[in-house]
Amino acid sequence: MTIDMSQFYEVFFDEAEELLAEAERLLLGINIANPDNEELNAIFRAAHSIKGGAATFGFMDMTEITHVLENLLDKIRKHEMALTAEHVDAFLAAKDVLKMELDGHRLATEVDEEQVADVKMMLKQLSEAGAVSAPVVAPVATAPTPQPAEPIVKESIETPTPDGMSCFNIVMPDITEKDVENLQEELGLLGDATVSKQADGRFVISLTTDSSQDDIVSICSFIVDPDDLVITLKSDSPVVGTSPAQEATSELAIAVETQVDTSNKVLVQEEVGYGLFEEEGKEKQEEGYGFFAPFQPHPDAVKSNLIGDDTALTLANSGTTSAQLATAVKAEVAATTASQDADRRNAGRREADKAPASAEASSIRVGVEKVDQLINLVGELVITQAMIEQRISMLDPVHNEALINSVGQLTRNTRDLQESVMSIRMMPMDFVFSRFPRMVRDLAAKLNKKVDFVTVGATTELDKGLIERIVDPLTHLVRNSVDHGIEIPENRRKAGKSESGTLTLSAAHKGGSIVIEVTDDGAGLNRDRILAKAQSNGLPVSENMTDGEVFSLIFAPGFSTAEVVTDVSGRGVGMDVVKRNITAMGGSVEIRSALGFGTTISIALPLTLAILDGMSVSLGDSVYVIPLNLIVETLQPRAEDIKTVTGEGRMVHVRGEYLPIIALHSLFNHKTDITDPTQGVLVLLESDGKKSALFVDRLVGQQQVVIKSLETNFKKIPGVSGATIMGDGSVALILDVAALIQMGQTTNYITGAASFSNQNNQHMQSNA
């Protein structure tokens, strides 16, 4: 039976990514002088798990890095080495490389091999630097004679080894003396390594260690091709050849030869991969292994499987188990003590790990498309339910009381169901916030600034779709704050502030939206400089603009007040893109700033993209939905408030402000009896800081609507952002307010006197 391993790749990728993120989070928070053991353990476990998965699924590049990483972490967590800032940097770099390799496998993105090699080297050097007295053995003086690599299995040499230790003979391929020295040093980390020379001129490293052959191979693989290595176990340690079982089985002996003859690979004798413990003298010699009493193998198993056709495997068992036994028995006393130690360790660990682990235990991983389908179906259900409710309302309440009550129940259940389903898509803001500590740390280091990074409300939940889309704008804002907001320590001192600036990233629910704020206690925005810059950029400005309006100018395309363009930010692009992205999400941006005290950029986003609080309005026979958050007010104008401006169309005078009237019926070319604004309703809309009055027939009512994409089901229509199904089953279009305001202006533009009227318009607004 073959099992396609690729089906588990995605799970592994997700998992590895989570582990990397978690490790990074822990690393950034770690107290270098006095690291928390639990945190070190958790970081170690992350590296360890990734290594295990990567090895299983065959991502060897990741295995290599995690292996070195794990070794170093292990030393630190066992207090054989003190944690330094250098270590943390190296671990973070390793995390980046792993992420890069992960993306390389997952998304086929490029992997910078140089970076990988650098990090590997760095980790190795760190590992060596703090190593506890690696044994130094004088290198052999003569140069190696070139010779084709061929497998050599050494005779067993009697070498007494301490309990639990194995003695390996590692025959090197044709490599330089320098490489041998390096390897010896590396292997010295595992145990006692000595170099000798064979008759054929090749070097042999004898290593006494409690590490496995895998470890040796991984270490050697940095310098030599593992395929060219010949590793043998010396006797008096777990090794093939000591087992009486093997001697008795000629078949197995043949297997040994076959293996030697055909394979130029590492001769893995000790580590075939598994074994079964047994009691001394009880093993069945033919099979070479047995079971630890009183457990007996299953009768089926004895019949069918004890002698497999995989000879190498059987052979391997014979070697491992019986030899294993000897060590196991000897080590039993020691092991009991050791496992008691482990117990104590675990007792401490339990407390600390409880929260994250139970979160994992109680969660399942499902595809986003499944969730979306569920949400879609619930949306349909809500619509159907609304239809039923509408029908019911026409029935006689006295005769149909029971039915009406049941439908009321259904309504409540449907609403609960909808809320629960929508919450599935909700993710904590932490998913976004967690990537920033690292970024801020790196940026601050690059700019020689000191920045304390604080997050508030990381558990606040937001729709997954929005979470993904908020990352880029937020990244830009955070970069900006560190680069332009927070001053260098010297300037801060002069200004009487503490040397390190504080950057706060916060998220909170406010009404139906979530407000995300990036706050710094830096220099603040300079109103005069922004105005001057805007003027030189040809933007319409005036001295009596409010601070809010002035600050909003930095969202204009191509606007940047940074005098010096750094490679961090300030290339004059970005803020307009930030604004555009957030508007596209149905959100808004606001800037608050005080010169010398700092800046807050506040983003308000709807909680979800799938549901909208809307005001339905009628136009002729049709109903349209306007997003409620963009409506400032609604009014029925008096005739004297309506003015017609040449080239500007009709304007409405609202509390000293003239707003252009956009007649929806003429914009959409819609038949209606009401063409006079005084007969209908004006809905005052505000988007992107621009106000307009939308002229419609009537207000119908306020309701939550489920947004259906018009684009995927039909095509994109200017001025319409989507559609929804109303309670009576009819379709209503959802208006795209920003586009409508734009269209209103363009229509006027077409009708004439554009440049003048636009300026005029701006002027009137700024006067307002």
């Binding site: 009768p299 080590a331 009991t336």
Partner: protein
């Protein structure tokens, strides 16, 4: 009746791989994400074989094995450790804790099924 195997591993991908492979070979599989979870699930239903990772949060594999062996119902149930640590020390600890054997990670599904079949039959 299909035999039930308890697979304990904190790594979801490995656990799923193990579970999928074993199910494909005709076993029923119960999954647990750490030693404590494994112990709880083992108590719910006595399984025919326990496969456990060593390095896990909350409760590691060795502790799980020791705890299982203290239960009357798990005196004779075979337990294998699936571990990346293949040192003799680890094996000795495993044996002392009451494991019946070990399987070194990484392993492929075929190897896993072979070993499982050797222990509890198909």
């Amino acid at each position: 009746m299909a035999k039930t195997i308890l697979a304990v591993d904190d790594s979801g991908s490995l656990r799923q791989m193990v579970a999928f492979s074993l199910k494909a070979a005709g076993y029923d599989v119960v999954q647990a994400v750490d030693g404590q979870d494994g112990l709880n699930k083992a108590k719910e239903k006595t399984v025919d074989l326990v496969l456990t990772d060593q390095n896990m949060p909350i409760m590691d594999g060795l502790t799980l094995i020791k705890n299982l062996r203290e239960l009357g119902s798990y005196q004779k149930v075979p337990i294998l450790m699936l571990t990346t640590e293949s040192s003799d020390e680890m094996k000795a600890k495993g044996k002392a804790a009451g494991a019946n054997g070990w399987l070194v990670k990484p392993f492929d599904p075929k190897r896993l099924i072979e070993v499982v079949q050797k222990v509890i039959g198909s």
